[in-house]
Structures are given as C-alpha cells and as structure tokens.
Amino acid sequence: MCLGIPGQIVAVTDETRMMALAEVSGVRREVNVACVLDRPIGDLVGEWALIHVGFAMALIDADEAAKTLEALRDLGEAQEALEAMEAGQKALEGQS
C-alpha cells in the first residue's frame, strides 16, 4: 500500500505552515515538510524526499541508495563471472 514517490524539494512556499514545493519529473506540487524538518527549512531545498499524500515523509539517503545499487551491481558482476565460468566449463566439457 502507500504509493510513495521520490521528489526533489525545489522551493519553500510557506515557512509557518511548513510547506515547500516538490518536483517529480517536472510536475510540481506543494507538500508539507514537517516530518523531514531536521534542519532550517531553507536547507531542504535540493534534497530528495519520499512524497506520500502531499507530505514529504522521509529524506532519501543518497549513500544508502548508492550502496543498494552497488550491491545489485556486484550481484550482476558475480553473475556474469559465474556465467562466464559456467560457459568456460561447458566449453571445456565440449557442450557447445
């Protein structure tokens, strides 16, 4: 459940009500940033957040994202190596 979309905070629109403009692929909407207000609101600009029902619910951790992608990439390389190995083995065994 709970459709959530990464969006970038591009401007502060109402400091008192903790509202900012988020952009998802060129589509902009005002969102509430209360849940991610771990710093002065202006410093959120440029950050990526997970947007749900008009609220920025979490900031997206770029390092963690990179780590996850890294792990996937490693998996891919391991797999390629494995396949190359298997291919080599098969070739050795004479199976075309």
């Binding site: 459940m1 709970c2 459709l3 979309i5 969006g7 998802v24 692929s25 060129g26 589509v27 902009r28 909407r29 005002e30 947007i51 749900h52 029902v53």
Partner: protein
C-alpha cells in the same frame, strides 16, 4: 453585416436563449459572423462532387465535448470539438467536408469566452479544410450546465475503394502511433487545479486529417486507425483487437512518453496507457509498408514523434499484451471506469 453591434451584454443571460432578437444578436455577432454559413435557413444545403462518385460513401460521426476547464494549455473546447470530429472522420479513411456545431451555454458564461472558442473553432476548421455549415445555440440556467458544451457532427466522404477499419487488420500488421501519449489527459488533470499540481504540459489537441491522408498515400494498404481519446491508447487497442478478432502486442520501451506525463502518473498512481489524447492516433499497416508510413508521419509536424509500438498477432485474440521494459509481459485490459487518482 455592417450594422452596429447590438450584443452589448458581457455575459450570456437566459434572454439569449429565448428564440427572440437577443438570441439572433448573439448568433449573428458571435457565431455566424465567424462561421459565415451560406444561408439563413436552419439547414445547410451542400454539394460536393466527391460524394457523387460511384462507390464513394458518406461518413458521419458525432461527439459532445464537455471538458473542464474550457480553456487549457494547448487548446480550448472549441479546438477540441473541431479536431475530435475531424479525427473521427479521418481515422475511418474519410475526407472531412462539413461540420455542424451545437452549443449549450450556461447562463453567465462570458461572451468574450464564446468569441475565443468560436475563433479557435474557425481556425482549426480552416487548418483541417472543413467548413462549419450549420449550428445551434441553447442557453440553460445557472448550474444546469458546466459553462459550455459543444457538440460537433462531421460529414465526410470515403473515396471509392478505400476500406479502413479494424476488421481489416491481419496478423503481423504493425502498430504505429504519431507521437507521445497522455499529454491531453495529464494537462487537463493539472489544469483542473483540484490536485494542486503544476506542469508545463500542453494538450496534444490537433487535427489528424492531413496526417491520415499522408499515411494512406505512403501505405496504400493501411488497415485501420483510431484516435486514442477517452480511455487512452489501451482502450483504442482493446477495441481494435476485439473488432479484428486478433491479439495485439505492444512494447513498453517503444512507447513515446513525456517525462512530465510519467511523473504525474507516478504521483497519482495512474497508467499513461489510459490517459486521454486528443491528437494521437494508432494506425495498423502491413509490415512491408510500416517504414513508409512511419516516414510519412515523421515528415509532418503532427507525426514528428511517431513510433512503431507493436503488432497484431493471431494468438490471444481480443487481448492486448505488453512486453514490459523489465522483460515481463502483462495484459493491458480496458479500464472499467475512469482512472482515479490513488494513494495506495
């Protein structure tokens, strides 16, 4: 008509619908002064040699237009009403000749808005090479209509020997669209304002008559075409698959989509395959004429974003499937109702 203007109201009142002089003034000074029909009778009397050709058939189609808001980035209800009906003629292989236009106007509608809508209809009609030959206006009380509804009916001629229709699609035929999907639907969703979304999107609203003629010239065995309006590409393809009794397979990676449309769909949980278009068609041509058809489309501005998106198959008759970008496959069914923005 050089007599001084008599229509001095800035908004339409019920008087303008009463069948009297106020109505005549509205019609004269907003509608007929632009459309310039031939006569004062309440019917157009028409002749076109193409209709008399042996084997020629007359094509007739109608649509009511009820868009909110009435004006939006890329068009207005008048442009829609002309393009929509011209396109319904064109995708059936007919050359559009004449349109009628009937207006249901809510009391309080701005006369200036009507003038803009009429001007935009006139412009689109000229571009499409059709004439608006007869019309009607009705005024309803406040709250009895949502500003303005326009119903256009189009009459065209199908040249002898031309047979375009979904029943003619054969397995192996190639499906081509003329451009990006969903711009109109996404633009309208944003323009309504109630979801508080803003974008730089514009409706794709445009006439497709010349494009269709170019495609048919380039691909003489063009099988069928459909404009992917309400219900989007998915509905158009499903209808065609059903009528043809064939399966259709499309390739997700081949679908032309604008970033903002994808973004709006992600936010609202919508599928761009179901978003409305107003200037987008899908055409089926034999495989060996596909490149020619594609080139003919791309040579015109309405087809500059054209792409081959799939083909007809003799498997899974009546069904549309999509190879996903991820390597899977799924059915692209018709929607039940309209797509609703969702959060889960």
């Amino acid at each position: 008509m050089t007599r001084p203007a008599r229509l001095r109201d800035t908004r339409v009142t019920l008087s303008h619908g009463g069948g009297g002089r106020a109505m005549r003034d509205l019609i004269d000074e907003v509608f007929t002064c632009t459309f310039r029909p031939d006569a004062m009778e309440d019917q157009a009397r028409l002749h076109d040699a193409a209709l008399a050709e042996p084997g020629a058939r007359l094509a007739m189609t109608t649509d009511s237009f009820v868009v909110t808001p009435l004006e939006f980035p890329g068009g207005d209800i008048g442009k829609l009403a002309v393009c929509g009906t011209v396109n319904d003629l064109a995708v059936g292989g007919a050359r559009p000749l004449w349109l009628s236009a009937a207006f249901i106007i809510e009391e309080g509608t701005e006369v200036a808005l009507l003038r803009r809508v009429v001007a935009s209809m006139d412009q689109e009609a000229r571009l499409a090479g059709v004439r608006i030959v007869t019309g009607d206006t009705k005024v309803v009380g406040r709250g009895a209509a949502d500003g303005l509804f326009v119903t256009t009916t189009g009459v065209g001629v199908i040249p002898p020997g031309r047979n375009i229709g979904a029943v003619h699609i054969r397995p192996g035929d190639v499906a081509i669209v003329n451009g990006v999907l969903g711009d109109h639907g996404a633009t309208i969703l944003a323009a309504r304002g109630d979801l508080a979304l803003s974008t730089d999107l514009r409706s794709d609203c445009q006439g497709l008559g010349h494009l269709m003629e170019a495609v048919i010239a380039a691909a003489p065995d063009t099988r069928a075409a459909r404009d992917a309006t309400r219900g989007g590409l998915a509905s158009a393809l499903n209808e065609m698959a059903e009528a043809a009794g064939l399966g259709i397979e499309i390739d997700e990676t081949a679908l032309p989509l604008r970033t903002e449309v994808t973004g709006m769909c992600e936010i609202l949980g919508l599928d761009p395959l179901y978003l409305a278009n107003e200037g987008t068609l899908v055409v089926f041509v034999p495989e060996d004429q596909a490149e020619a058809a594609l080139a003919a489309m791309r040579a015109r501005p309405e087809g500059s974003g054209a792409a081959i998106i799939g083909r007809a198959l003799d498997t899974h008759p009546g069904q549309v499937r999509m190879r996903t970008a991820f390597g899977g496959s799924r059915i692209v069914d018709m929607l039940v109702g309209e797509q609703l923005p969702r959060i889960c």
